[in-house]
Amino acid sequence: MSVDLMRFPRPASLPPSPAERLAAPVPRTASRDVRGRQGEIAQLYAAMAWRRAAVLLFGAACAVLGLVLDVATGPALLSVSDVAASVLGLAQDRTVDAIVWSIRLPTALVALVVGAALGLSGAIMQTILNNPLASSYTLGVSAGAGFGAALVIVLGVMLPVPEAYAIPLMAFLFACLACAGVYGIGSSRDSSPQMLLLAGIALLFLFQALLALLQFVASPEALQQIVFWLFGSLQKASWSKLWIISAVLVLCLPVLVADAWRLTALKLGDERARGLGVDVRRLRLRSFALISALTGVAVAFVGTIGFVGLVAPHIARMLVGEDQRSFLPASALYGALLLSAASIASKTVLPGAIVPIGIVTSLVGVPFFIWLIMRNRRAFW
């Protein structure tokens, strides 16, 4: 049986098939003349890059605005002009100077860097685990830090450091320990994202149980102290803590810059990334080290502030997609912005008092997050 192919001519309205294009190459260089006019894709790429730069700039501008408002608000009810004068070094009143320079400025700046650290670590975690639910909170890293803090508060386990740093150091070490545990258990078999997630969830329950055990045996005073620490609070912020957190952030940058494309490749799955020449195991290990440093240092100084690490990457993903070159900075910026906003809210909800920031972040963050995921029509992540 023979088929008369001419009976079914291709409709003229169809665009030329890829094969036809290959046979008679459409002048793909035609749009690029000698003076270097850009091709269609180069133009598209430039437009995408501009849009992303604009999103980052907008985030940065909002963060600066947040910083200003954060410094301007507080239980001392100082006037904005007094605060501005003090910041510019023109204040007449020494108490204003003291409040602004030793409390408000470091607190507001710590809110920004802690938010950035949490947003960034959440973003890295969601990328290397390929899961939008991953964050330091959901994977037991924060719970580990909480247990470390409780060890100091309840049992007085202390390393030889100044007293102000005893709790942060132990919290940091246990955050790192939790991270190492997630990586160690998760990569013992095949280092797949699923195994790592399961390991993280197991450790979350373990550290929560250990923390509950300590709370069970704690004195009422120690119990109160633990609970307050777990709320998360910016009130212990200081310049030296600000420098430490900033230093960790800055140290992470070169690694992230170098790994940006490799992390992006990981979004296509382990096998695809390996096929593109990425050493997936080493990339995960390196990223876990960054996560434990970033989360550890952030949580150590301000307690467990949930949510920022989960929400900031989601906002970033909706705004700039998952090209890590813009996704990571956007997560950091919007994390900083979120925590700054929460800090302002924590001082203005009850006039003259400061609600612990961990409570505010979740109270304000949850409805916002739900609104965010409900309105997002691209429900493919």
């Binding site: 023979s2 088929v3 192919l5 665009p15 098939s17 890829p18 094969a19 294009r21 290959l22 459409v26 793909r28 690029r32 850009q38 091709g39 269609e40 894709i41 180069a42 598209l44 790429y45 995408m48 810059v257 940006a260 494309w261 490799r262 992006t264 490749a265 979004k267 296509l268 799955g269 096998e271 695809r272 390996r274 096929g275 593109l276 020449g277 990425v278 993903r317 997609g321 998952e322 090209d323 070159r325 691209r378 493919f380 992540w381």
Partner: protein
């Protein structure tokens, strides 16, 4: 580039999926790998691509050095990702990308997107595409690396018949034009017969025959390897057509 596979072994845990396989793929030819489900086709491709641990040796032009430019397209392709088509195809050139993307990289991507008819989708997210469109994107990614060796694991399984033909023509064209070595896993024996220069038939991890389409695609092979009774006929252009009649 000539790819020489010698005594290849691949195991998943305790199961040996390829117990020792020898195969040669010549430069400038399209080698189709066919065989029933679970016969080790993907494992072979993965081992050559270097994404799966294996025993035995794989040589590229006589050296064990894996070429830096392998265009590998896996069977399982990611979907739920907020990466644009443009970014995904750019990733094919991963080794050469800096923080700032150069004009040469963008030009290479444009050429590939153009050839595969994907220009209109360039700014769309992968998650918004259909399965067939995604398959084209990952083929584009494999081609964008300007590979010397092209490894395609079922590249047309989700495509309509027109795109199946178009993709195979592009693969064949690229193989000839740039002198690539192309290994492609196919399920459609007629597509294999139409486009491949040579066909390797696998069964239970072993190579049962390797030769020209006319020599390999014939009723006795289809019956013994696929357990299907088949009849052969001829297309108007002289290519063989295999019609499956019933499962044996």
């Amino acid at each position: 580039m000539r790819v020489t596979v010698k005594d290849l072994t691949v195991r998943y845990g305790a199961t040996e999926v390829i117990p020792g396989l020898d195969l040669v793929a010549e430069a400038g030819e399209v080698l189709a790998v066919i065989g029933p489900n679970g016969s080790g086709k993907s494992s072979l491709i993965k081992a050559i691509a270097g994404v799966m641990p294996h025993g035995g040796s794989i040589a590229f032009d006589g050296t064990p050095m894996r070429p830096s430019r392998i265009g590998y397209m896996p069977q399982d392709i990611a979907g739920r990702t907020a990466l644009t088509v443009l970014e995904t195809v750019l990733l094919g050139r991963l080794g050469r990308l800096g923080l700032r993307v150069g004009a040469a990289d963008l030009d290479a991507v444009e050429a590939v997107l153009h050839d595969l008819g994907l220009m209109a989708l360039a700014s769309r997210y992968l998650g918004e595409l259909s399965g067939g469109q995604r398959q084209l994107v990952f083929l584009a990614q494999a081609l964008a690396s300007e590979p010397a060796l092209l490894l395609l694991d079922e590249p047309i399984s989700a495509l309509d018949i027109r795109h199946q033909l178009a993709v195979m023509e592009i693969v064949l064209g690229a193989t000839r034009e740039r002198g690539l070595t192309t290994l492609v896993v196919l399920h459609d024996l007629n597509v294999a017969a139409r486009f491949a220069d040579a066909i390797a038939v696998m069964q239970r991890g072993c190579l049962v025959c390797h030769g020209s389409p006319a020599a390999t695609i014939e009723p006795a092979m289809v019956a013994s390897v696929f357990a299907v009774q088949a009849a052969m006929s001829m297309a108007p252009d002289g290519k063989p057509i295999m019609t499956p009649l019933r499962a044996l």
